[in-house]
């Protein structure tokens, strides 16, 4: 047999060109999703077999160019240069030829075996246009395939083209993008210099690319060649003499040349074949959705709809998961003998992970909406509508949706921050996201506001949400003024035409997010749950002030069996649980750190509750249940817990406690996702520290001010 017939192919293209849809059509569900090394740029790989060839595909991030100015561009370029795929498939939105072909000219200059895919041909045809693909293919010296991403049309032809090139052997196109004669002369002189430096090693086409990049002043290529001082000096002087004689900077001069070439190409190949009454759907939809008066209310209505649907529809699968988790923990309880292993499994692992997995339906549903907004083109419009407001606090318009999602759950919200291209803006959006009061904090507010502010509980809860938003805005503003100083990224954002997304793409996207979430649960949350369980289960034999076993015997003997005895026994068990809780490691830590909370007025019970809230904020309520002797099986509506807690805190302390709960470190799942999305332990720690610091200060202020008012 000959060598194995496997090839690696990279998909490149502009954002919104339908690249990911084509990738999904080619590979189906056989995808591996990860990150490019060291950066938070999604890397998707998949495999497809065609005519005896195994084709490995990699979906590069969507970019308008391959200069190294954004993370995505750098990642795409480094992949193409360093990992040298056998072939690059350049996906071009045929309805937007000129701008899409800019990237194509760069790929041609990089001297790569190339297949060009003219995607979204259905849109071109419906506009009464035709592309002469034969001429197109001749002028660019590459195979050209027509596709329709939404329907999968052209999939076979694309695979055939790939295999054809693989069988004929890979070779470059020998097509040159011609520039202005002065620029050509400068390129030629620089190129000769490169050829002398690397005799026989650099092919002509590649040395031309290097020369162009040097003339463009590309920082990565300059750094790479920095040993060759003479070459750099030559390139610099060529660059400045070009800029002087033309009165333009060199990147503009080169872009002029590329667009000139593209313009000629499009002139020759794109024809209006039949007259069509221009039916610009996008324009008409935008008249409504981007209307200066209706635009914002409609956007807020869509957001409301997203939350409403997520939480009402999500209710059902949440109940199933809850039932499944209880069934599993019951099954394990029955199957295993009493002891530590069983406690670890049931209380630690199943309880801990189960308590977080229950949010899976919400996360999946939220992402269904996000994916729909993104694929229809509405997401960019939302950013457009909100940008003025967001820019005021130093953020990008796109940051609004992740922040809003934070009201539901910070985990998907932080994951959604990936739609923000600028790494700085993305990081800032991630860091302030935990201040958006997620749904898990609501039970704590309902409980405490219900007890201590019965008559105006609603106002207090609303005030807390507002405080969260204001703190987020303030923190963003402060960070922008200090650590993130400098110019914010320009708001140059494409508004793609409205398109009906392929159901397949939406579902695959949703599936990916679910898997991402589950991966997190299986890792850090599992470990975190075990640690917290350990802290509240050990040391096992603590010195108790009461001999509970003897007391239990006494009750059983002295009282008649019946409701009274049951109640007495339950009270006793609770008292024992509370004392144990207090004396175990977690309780010891709670007591140790309590002095920190002294100025805020929190007692050791509050301190412990806040500690357990580190796993998930709603646990604060069940911890109070244990500590106030009403058992762990309580919720925020529980009357017994409310009675037990009434009078245990001053109202201003309760208010401060709620403010602290709102602002202090996010739950374990959020920390896990911050770590993952920032790829930095430093920023994760910073986020936790900032949350704790702000929570303490705000709670302190609340106590002081409330004392004066109440």
């Amino acid at each position: 047999m000959s060598r194995s017939k496997a090839i690696t192919i990279a998909l490149a293209g502009n954002p919104n060109c339908g690249k990911t849809t084509i990738f999904n059509h080619l590979t189906g569900a056989r995808q591996r999703v990860g990150n490019f090394t060291g950066v938070t740029v999604t890397r998707k790989e998949g495999t497809v077999s065609h005519k005896g060839w195994t084709i490995n595909l990699i979906d590069l991030p969507g970019t308008y160019s391959l200069s190294s100015k954004t993370v995505e561009e750098r990642v795409a370029r480094e992949y193409i240069l360093d990992e040298a795929p056998d072939l690059v498939v350049d996906i071009v939105d045929a309805g937007n030829l000129e701008r899409n072909l800019f990237l194509t000219t760069q790929l041609i200059e990089m001297d790569l075996p190339l297949v060009i895919t003219l995607n979204m041909m259905d849109e071109v045809r419906s506009q009464g246009m035709e592309i002469d693909t034969k001429t197109f293919s001749q002028l660019l010296g590459t195979l050209v395939v027509e596709t329709v991403g939404r329907t999968g049309e052209g999939r076979e032809e694309l695979l055939d083209a790939i295999v054809q090139i693989a069988e004929e052997g890979f070779h470059s196109q020998q097509i040159r993008v011609p520039y202005d004669s002065h620029v050509e002369e400068a390129i030629e002189r620089t190129r000769e210099h490169i050829a002398q430096l690397h005799p026989g090693q650099v092919e002509e086409q590649r040395s031309r690319w290097l020369a162009i990049k040097l003339l463009e002043g590309d920082s990565d290529v300059l750094a790479q060649e920095h040993d060759h001082r003479e070459l750099i000096a030559v390139a610099k002087s060529e660059q400045s003499s070009l800029e002087e004689s033309h009165g333009e900077d060199s990147p503009t001069l080169l872009a002029d040349g590329r667009y000139g070439f593209i313009h000629g190409l499009v002139q020759e190949t794109l024809q209006q074949s039949r007259p069509v009454r221009t039916q610009n759907m996008t324009r008409r939809i935008d008249q409504l959705l981007l209307n200066r008066i209706l635009g914002l209310p409609l956007f807020l209505f869509f957001m409301w709809l997203m939350f409403q649907t997520t939480f009402t529809v999500g209710q059902y699968p949440m109940e199933w998961i809850d039932a499944g988790v209880s069934w599993l923990s019951d099954a394990v309880t029955t199957a295993l003998p009493e002891g530590m292993v069983r406690d670890l499994l049931v209380d630690g692992i199943i309880g801990g992970v189960g308590g977080i997995i229950i949010f899976l339906p919400n996360i999946v549903l939220l992402f269904l909406f996000i994916s729909f907004f993104e694929n229809t083109g509405y997401m960019a419009r939302a950013a457009f509508l909100m940008d003025h407001f967001m820019h005021g606090i130093g953020l990008h318009g796109k940051a609004f949706i992740p922040l809003l999602m934070g009201f539901g759950c910070n985990v998907p919200a932080i994951m959604a921050a990936r739609t923000i291209e600028s790494p700085r803006d993305r990081l800032l959006t991630i860091l302030i996201n935990p201040f958006m009061s997620c749904s898990a904090r609501l039970p704590v507010y309902v409980l405490l506001a219900g007890i201590f502010f019965t008559d105006y509980a609603g106002t207090v809860v609303f005030g807390l949400y507002l405080t969260g938003v204001l703190v987020a805005m303030g923190a963003a503003w402060m960070m922008k003024k200090t650590m993130f100083r400098g110019l914010s990224d320009p708001f140059v954002m494409e508004l793609p035409p409205y398109r009906l997304p392929a159901a397949r793409s939406v579902i695959i996207h949703m599936w990916e997010k679910a898997v991402e979430f589950l991966k997190k649960v299986s890792g850090i949350i599992l470990v975190g749950s075990i640690i917290i369980w350990f802290l509240q289960a050990f040391p096992q034999d603590v010195d108790l002030t009461v001999d509970y076993a003897a007391e239990q015997n006494r009750i059983e003997q002295q009282m008649d069996t019946g409701e009274a005895q049951e109640q007495a026994l339950a009270a006793l068990a609770n008292a024992q649980a509370a004392e144990e809780q207090e004396k175990r490691y977690l309780g010891q830590i709670g007591r140790t750190i309590q002095p920190i909370f002294e100025p805020l007025g929190f007692d050791w019970k509050g301190s412990i509750a806040l500690l357990t809230g580190f796993v998930a904020k709603e646990i604060v309520v069940s911890t109070f249940g244990v500590l106030y002797n009403t058992g762990g099986e309580v919720d925020e509506e529980s009357v017994t817990l409310r009675e037990a807690m009434a009078g245990s805190m001053a109202p201003e302390v309760a208010l401060a406690f709620m403010v602290f709960t709102l602002l202090y470190m996010p739950c374990l799942a959020t920390i896990a996702v911050i770590r993952r999305e920032t790829q930095s332990a430093g920023w994760t720690i910073f986020s936790i520290a900032m949350g704790l610091g702000i929570a303490w200060i705000m709670a302190w202020i609340v106590v002081r001010v409330a004392r004066l008012v109440i």
Binding site: Y64, S65, S67, K69, G95, N96, E98, R99, F102, D249, P251, T252, A255, D256, Y259, T282, R283, D286, L290, R292, I293, G295, L296, A380, A383, F384, L385, D387, H388, F389, H391, G397, L487, P490, F491, V492, M493, E494, L495, P496, P497
Partner: protein, 75 residues
Amino acid sequence: MEATLAALKPGEQGALVRIQGENRLRQRLTEMGFIKGSTIGVDSTAPFGDPRSYSIRGYQVTLRNAEAEQIIVEI
């Protein structure tokens, strides 16, 4: 007559003369097809009058007014 893109009203259009301001904005715009002579038209305006969206080369792109002020067009 030369004017900045920000000065144009919705529905008006102009031909690009030059882009001023910092390199980053200029290079990004250049890559996206803002080349001398390109026709740029004003489309929608966001609720507070900023940003606005423009059409160029058959697609739509948003710009804050501060950015549009750096773009000089001939009308």
